[in-house]
Symmetry: D2
Subunit: 391 residues, 4 copies
Amino acid sequence: MTNWPRMNLAAGPVEVPERTRRDLSKPVLYHYDPAFKEEFAHTSDLLKQVFRTNYDVVIMQGEAILGLEAAAASLIQPGDKVLNLVSGVFGKWFEFFIDKFGGETIELAVGYDDAIDPEDVRKALNANPGVKYLSVVHSETPSGTHNPVREIGNIAREFGVLTMVDTVSGLGSELLSPEEWGLDVAIAGPQKCLGGTPGLSLMSISPAAWEAMEKHANPLRGSFLSILDWKDAWLENNRFPYTPSVSEMYALESTLTQTLEEGVERVAWRHQTIAKACREGVKALGLELWPVREEIAAGCVTAVKMPDGLTDEQIRGTMRHRYGVMISPGYGDLNGKLFRLGHMGMAAHPTMLASQLAILERSLKDIGYPVQMGAGVGAAMDAIEGWDDAA
Amino acid sequence: MTNWPRMNLAAGPVEVPERTRRDLSKPVLYHYDPAFKEEFAHTSDLLKQVFRTNYDVVIMQGEAILGLEAAAASLIQPGDKVLNLVSGVFGKWFEFFIDKFGGETIELAVGYDDAIDPEDVRKALNANPGVKYLSVVHSETPSGTHNPVREIGNIAREFGVLTMVDTVSGLGSELLSPEEWGLDVAIAGPQKCLGGTPGLSLMSISPAAWEAMEKHANPLRGSFLSILDWKDAWLENNRFPYTPSVSEMYALESTLTQTLEEGVERVAWRHQTIAKACREGVKALGLELWPVREEIAAGCVTAVKMPDGLTDEQIRGTMRHRYGVMISPGYGDLNGKLFRLGHMGMAAHPTMLASQLAILERSLKDIGYPVQMGAGVGAAMDAIEGWDDAA
Amino acid sequence: MTNWPRMNLAAGPVEVPERTRRDLSKPVLYHYDPAFKEEFAHTSDLLKQVFRTNYDVVIMQGEAILGLEAAAASLIQPGDKVLNLVSGVFGKWFEFFIDKFGGETIELAVGYDDAIDPEDVRKALNANPGVKYLSVVHSETPSGTHNPVREIGNIAREFGVLTMVDTVSGLGSELLSPEEWGLDVAIAGPQKCLGGTPGLSLMSISPAAWEAMEKHANPLRGSFLSILDWKDAWLENNRFPYTPSVSEMYALESTLTQTLEEGVERVAWRHQTIAKACREGVKALGLELWPVREEIAAGCVTAVKMPDGLTDEQIRGTMRHRYGVMISPGYGDLNGKLFRLGHMGMAAHPTMLASQLAILERSLKDIGYPVQMGAGVGAAMDAIEGWDDAA
Amino acid sequence: MTNWPRMNLAAGPVEVPERTRRDLSKPVLYHYDPAFKEEFAHTSDLLKQVFRTNYDVVIMQGEAILGLEAAAASLIQPGDKVLNLVSGVFGKWFEFFIDKFGGETIELAVGYDDAIDPEDVRKALNANPGVKYLSVVHSETPSGTHNPVREIGNIAREFGVLTMVDTVSGLGSELLSPEEWGLDVAIAGPQKCLGGTPGLSLMSISPAAWEAMEKHANPLRGSFLSILDWKDAWLENNRFPYTPSVSEMYALESTLTQTLEEGVERVAWRHQTIAKACREGVKALGLELWPVREEIAAGCVTAVKMPDGLTDEQIRGTMRHRYGVMISPGYGDLNGKLFRLGHMGMAAHPTMLASQLAILERSLKDIGYPVQMGAGVGAAMDAIEGWDDAA
């Protein structure tokens, strides 16, 4: 049997605090038990606070890909023009959903190590009148980059274009706000920067998005993919469209509570600070960051170019099997071209960054790659200013 | 804040053993961690043993309604004739899926307190040449009844008709076998007789069902609803179509392990024995069973007619709020007409049946309904013969 | 391997709520971590509230027998006269401690199915001038009886006699108060009516008791048995005399918090109500209570005379092995003469009492003892008036 | 409220694996439940394997100081000559016990940064005929040193002297064997190198030690301090002298199981390897080790001289409060003179050593102490050769 890792420092699902997992393990309630309904309502309130929104929130009962597909399925009608922004694997994938539900994709793409320029969005919208929706990935986890979603969202609003925003690994790494940022449907995941368990889609829905779903020629209802089912059943009638994942909801309540106890501002600052320190550590080891510019590097994960002559199995396999530290490979088209150092949720902390980089150094040495032992950890720790867990 | 119940003796999700929940709370692994992939594969093997099948099994990452919709979405093509057997709320609901995916529904229905006669199925298939699929609910949880799925499945096979079988609350209450029973797509849930946590669909797929999905004019791929995605990704390439619910998989592994440790035969016997005892208890209290004949009463839950003059809130509310025992109301059209005493998973045990009936008696007394205190528990305990936890 | 019980309804240690055990399992802190010291201090404050005292409290790090021996060892000097009240096995045992530390025992004894009459205490104190200490067991768990400790304590105070009171299974079953009841050293356990884990001694110490310990010719210090070590180290200097049981302290904090959330009054009422109901159930089955009068029956456990012709193994063995319900045998000299139905902590609830009595009935039937099935549960449930978990 | 630490890297109690704590939280059994007795017996067997002994083992139900006092109390008679070896705070403390129980102490002492030379033991025994017992601390946790107990034990055996050995933090850091090392009463703790929870004394007793206890003029029985009670009750009659700490026993079973799964040899190697690496890290930072020679440095903890001009609060306070890493101060007389980096149990791993040293470096920088960032971690990781968690 494979040994278990000591630390899950991958690109998500990530380490989940024990407190969350103790809450996850609470006795399972019947979903119509009044105590569970109360808990579900409370958790929705907490989610609003973490999203910093007054929009309705919906918690769909499947991993975030469900929320993404649901958004496309609920909004897009045959013939709708959708401007799809592509700066990575996940952005590209969304085109499949647009096609599937009959939309017409207009693509604005950059390299998978780059980010979208908001001005190009403006140009594209000017050049393509009649665009109804814009889809964008906030944090491209596979590339370790992030897009300027705030600027993009506000440009979309100018054009009356509704936005579908994949902020699965973005929520928690920046201080977003659906209203101010112009996000109509925002889809996040608990298992990334919030440090929760996978299995749920966290969604914020603007009134305009609700209107579009309801005015759809064939509104999507009576389906696992339906967002409207949650509006009809839960939001308006305090019932569930089907049995929710009771235990996952306990974990989500715990995750959101902890996020708010710490403060969303501090959570975002913590991710940015550790991401910056991680990049300093990587550079000090003579390795290259994958993103073309540091300003577009993500707060959730640091993507590192695979050093010449080394394989994914050598680096990641050594770290994982010998020392118990799990990091992530390149995903999809990027496999073999990079590896990814996750620092989300509780992993966004100096202690775990130190472990991660120290084991990276030790593993590089094991496989014969020249490395100055301690250089990465030293540079990273040096870059962490103003940390204070007790504050 | 609402007080938590002491015992969840509802119609599912049900009480989950602590052992399962301790396993649920294990550290969250990255889904591509080798230890997790090993665990996922092992869990699939365990599921085969619990299903008593050599067919492929698929574990979809959402509550069983996902598996049911996925089956319909993956198999039914516009114009396909589907014989839908209806003996309750869930059977009736399936017609919605048939319609949604363009099928033509041929309904064979009985009262919601009755069960399908296999001979009527034969007649219907004779009367309706060209039927491609048959859909049936094994255990109609809302009615507390079960259908003779084995006989029905074998008749369908005679006619070359593929079956879609909702055995969500059936698996564990009877000794089923997809091959022998003629089940092409069987969908079960962990949160019923297996006593696990909700959030997954447990599916067994026959070769003929795979073939039908692949020969579909527009095979369903690239969707949360796709069963083929699991075949392409996991079964054939040891990859995941998307991030699985890591913690739920731990719980499922634990649930299945415990089921096999006890033995599926004993688990089924235990449910039947407790269901029988529960019915004796109900009758001894002068209450009426909902099913028209005891032979069709379900193994998972006992449905009881609402006594004249009493309301759901009186009975269930008193049991729940004063004494902490949660049972289930009538569902959908049956609301107010019956209440349901669940005895699934770890609740299928004399200790919990005794609590349930004693609190029912005490609550009936509290609300002024004439009841001979102890009569129900006494009759129920009397009916339990041959129990031996140590065996 | 032996099957695990479903329910621990014994005489203690008893079932511990999951919430407590989740808290028990928190990460282990270094005992001088400031977070642990804070938790220890907070737990001491909670204990004061549960004891309803302003006296100092001490939490010794071993099961209550440690606290009992420590009290004797710390107070008694060679030649000290100690009036030892004996109404059961535990009361008798204390004489051993008196002897060990050089005291002179004056015994006031009744049958092990009876309780001490306070007037006899007055007579004994009048008859024996110079008595320095009085030792008494509040709740004689082995006999299922309780002594009128309040009256006894106040008589002792009249005579200037210090009291050592074993309230191990008493705290939580009655509304005691060291000041008002005249208890100088009271020793309780978390694992009885408070429903916590075993491994700690909960002690309340009067100023007079502290003075006696310090004026001892050879004050007991530098020992695991020393109470003064806790005064010197913890109470006065915020240090530990040795490493405390960190996890047990977490559990105690949780136990006490839950006790206070429910309210000590309600906890005491709950024990008395269930004890009364249990006695009604036992009598309705034609069995005999062990105590000579019901007024002296304990709130924590109901002792039942062994029916003629039956053995402990038959009754308890059947209940435990076949049905998973653990109850307690007679202890020491009482072994074989009685069995004990525990109802402490979370077991003091109608649901668990129903299970216990139903399984007792079913087991009696299994072994051929004539019993009217349901009579015990019915009478017990009937006797429970005014229960309301939601209140 | 004080923030909780992220990592407990102190001198014990140390971080306890979650698996152990999940086992700790199992339902609490009545101590005479057959399942608990089976578990207790099984745990005793596991302890024998971890001690690598065929001697009897006793598990006393209190922290190791209980076992140490119990050994002295059970063995020493007034007038017995005891050679007490002193190389630190704990060794010195034992003299108090010798005095308390009437023994005559002959002290062989070295500086608290040094270790006992076995030849000096031989000389002392030659010079002091009639010595009956020898007491020694294997691993002096406060000093971060260890004594050559094997050599010392064998010399004692030559002289017919019985040994009392405090190996509280020694067991697990070296491959000891009571028979081969000449240990008559060895006392260990679960909360040190085994990485378990505090609250128990793990003892191995030689036949000669049993004989001495039984031939004691006043054999110690009927006390929390009695070892013979465990012999009479548990070893010979399968009963408990009093209620054991049920949950702590679960944790111990889990701890010992994990130790044996890993292999005691690997556990010892792991501690020595990490201790060596830690020392390299400390030296690379320009700090000084406390022990006079590296060969006597302990495997469980690394003691570091307090740098001139720095205070304990500066170093440890910064590490703990800002970064959540708890390490230990100097204890007793050594307070302020040194600080201690713990690496016991699961903390004896490269990931946690890296965190510890990185946070030490960062904290030194925070308080203005000159340090080359990364130097300590680099040197430590460099020193770890042959690590393989997957082996």
